[in-house]
């Protein structure tokens, strides 16, 4: 008898996925017992609307982590690409998503490819290289394009309307709630990434490179091409996420999302992505982001101030990390594997 999970996903669930699911269900029950209004479609719709940019960014981060690197420049890439695409569109006197979307994704891809080239040829930890590019991208854009903010009245009308677009809406006595257009976009991103990671050669090479770059290179994985794919794709997703973020918050701020990189990386790490073993699942990433969003938005319903969010999130992250790596440490001790660092 196959478990329903295996029937859907064709694999076993990972321990992290199981523990996160239990944690989220437990948390939902706890919040519902304090505040019955939590258990409703509106909560789900809100989570989709607010979590969409984070989820898209997280999928990109998952790819980078699986490839054995860490990228901290992606929020800056996201914001920079979206802001540049808006400025460029205004220069042409246009106001349409059909221009902004491809241009923002293109800018994101270019910035990502620059990351990949630097990482490949400098042969230094990806964290340090992307810290450098993050500062350069942000500084350069701020110096060249300025840092003026455009609130909802001044931002592109098509972008503002895009953020309010719903595919389904529910009418309640308190008002109308809609399921945002973001849902199919996020679902498409997740499906595409899942397909690329698990069903194509390039996806397998990402896992191979993350597990052991030397072994990967000896079985014929082209390291440079794999890096270009990983960081280029992450950049493209960032470009998309930047626009969606602007649409979601209805405000164009060229220095938004600063410091957000650590939170997204943390969400992906909670979901079981391993820096040292080419491991990570999209479902785990989804659960990690879900938990992050829940802590961000629903602690108030428990009667706790939102200042507790980092505390809880950090604690869960530590528990998740300890669980993953103590397991690996035991296995290493059994198998007499000695790792560096």
């Amino acid at each position: 008898m196959k478990s329903p999970f295996r029937a859907v996903f064709h694999r076993r669930s990972t321990p992290v996925e199981r523990y996160l699911t239990l944690l989220i269900i437990g948390y939902a029950i706890l919040v519902t017992s304090q505040n019955p209004r939590f258990f409703s479609l509106e909560t789900v719709f809100d989570l989709v609307h607010e979590g969409a940019p984070t989820m898209i960014l997280a999928v990109g981060v998952l790819l980078v982590l699986v490839s054995g690197g860490i990228d901290v420049s992606f929020p800056v890439v996201a914001i920079t690409s979206a802001y540049m695409s808006i400025k460029l569109m205004w220069a042409f006197g246009l106001d349409t998503m059909a221009f902004m979307l491809p241009v923002s994704i293109l800018f994101g891809t270019i910035l990502g490819l620059i990351n990949a080239l630097l990482i490949h040829f400098l042969r230094l930890p990806t964290l340090i290289v992307t810290l450098g590019t993050m500062a350069v991208y942000r500084g350069l854009m701020a110096v060249l394009l300025g840092t003026s903010q455009y609130p909802v009245a001044q931002m592109p009308k098509s972008l503002a309307e895009f953020g309010l677009l719903d595919i389904v809406s529910v009418t309640r006595p308190e008002g109308v709630y809609g399921l945002s257009i973001f849902l199919p976009i996020v679902a498409a991103v997740m499906a595409l990434t899942w397909f690329l990671l698990y069903h194509t050669m390039i996806g397998r090479s990402v896992f191979a490179m993350g597990s052991d770059p030397e072994a990967a290179s000896r079985i014929g994985v082209n390291i440079l091409r794999t890096r270009l794919f990983v960081y280029g794709y992450t950049g493209a997703l960032a470009g998309l996420a930047g626009l969606i973020y602007y649409a979601a918050v209805q405000n164009v701020d060229p220095v938004a999302l600063s410091g957000f990189e650590l939170m997204v990386i943390a969400a992906v790490v909670i979901g079981g992505a391993k820096l040292t073993g080419g491991e990570g699942t999209i479902l785990g990433t989804f659960l990690g982001v879900l938990l992050f969003q829940l802590f961000q938005t629903t602690l108030v319903q428990l009667g706790l101030a939102s200042t507790w969010a980092s505390f809880f999130f950090g604690a869960v992250l530590l528990a998740s990390l300890a669980m993953i790596y103590i397991r690996q440490r035991r296995a290493d001790q059994r198998n007499l594997v000695f790792r560096v660092g």
Binding site: R123, L124, I128, G132, V136, T307, G314, L317, L318, L321
Partner: protein, 351 residues
Amino acid sequence: MQAILDRFKGHGHVSVLAGANIVVLVLLAIGLGSSFFSMNNMQSMMTQVAEFGLLAVAMSLAMLTGGIDLSIVATAVLAGIVGAEFLTGKVVDLATTPAPVVMAMAVAAMLITGLLCGLFNGLLIAKASIPPILATLATSIFYTGVGTVMTGGASVPVKVKEFFKLGTVTVANIPMVFLITVIAFVVVGMMLRWTRTGRRIYLYGENAIALRFSGARHERLVILTYAIVGLICALAAMIMVSRTASARVGYGEAYLLQAILVVVLAGFDPFGGRGRVSGLALSLILLQLLSSAFTIMRFGPYMKVFIWGAMLLAVMLVTRIMAGFMERRERAHVAPPGSGGSPAVVEAVSA
């Protein structure tokens, strides 16, 4: 003269840094003149470099082991908040307790907090085998979370007036906080050079597995290293609180990028095992000179961000090119023709 030149042989990076310092100093003397070299500006530069210098030396210790500590700023801020809770009168009654006692308690609380934060990092890295990047990423969020919960996100003001003096008092025109940093540098430098622990930190960074097989207690070494890192962060916290007369979450976030920049600029190998405290001191001076010059020239904050990032990338590029050049020269000297293939392959993928 020859003796001085001999000393610099084999320390290419340190001499390049010293040269860069001299060039920048000369340029500043020509460009800005006496306004730059006034006693006032010198003192303010020394005060500024003090707290940042401590964070940089903390980061450099973590990097010597081949790790990294992303939680240095979070540790310092948390230590500062715990200390400020004493100085604001929340823990002890300021009216009845004499000021020196309160200050001693506050400093002790900061040092203990820093030490505990560092110990916790070390335990996660050594005993749970979590990669340093992820372990300290998690603790930086967690420590920030603890600080936010303690303060509710607000700033904790210092009410003991005597504590501000630490930030302003001078000894022979040299700010006291600068002296603290100099002493910390000398102590860390001597520890790395003359003690068994210091040599083992280098060995661990060079080849952790070899050190493990040589019978050294490698896990204890890692825990000790990160504990020292935490302690140094607490010293930085002390200076921060005395200088700003308060402690709050979110202070000094830009220091993390700058600390990594200054350590890489100083010639520390992020993969561990290479780097000298003297180089770190020189690269700190260089960065501080430039930073002050930019302030006098009225560069905006984003211009500075751009310059720091571009410098980090440029330094890495130059180091990479120089390393490639040295490798080729060594291979030409050592290896007979045709036998150099295998190391090149290994090297190409090890990044």
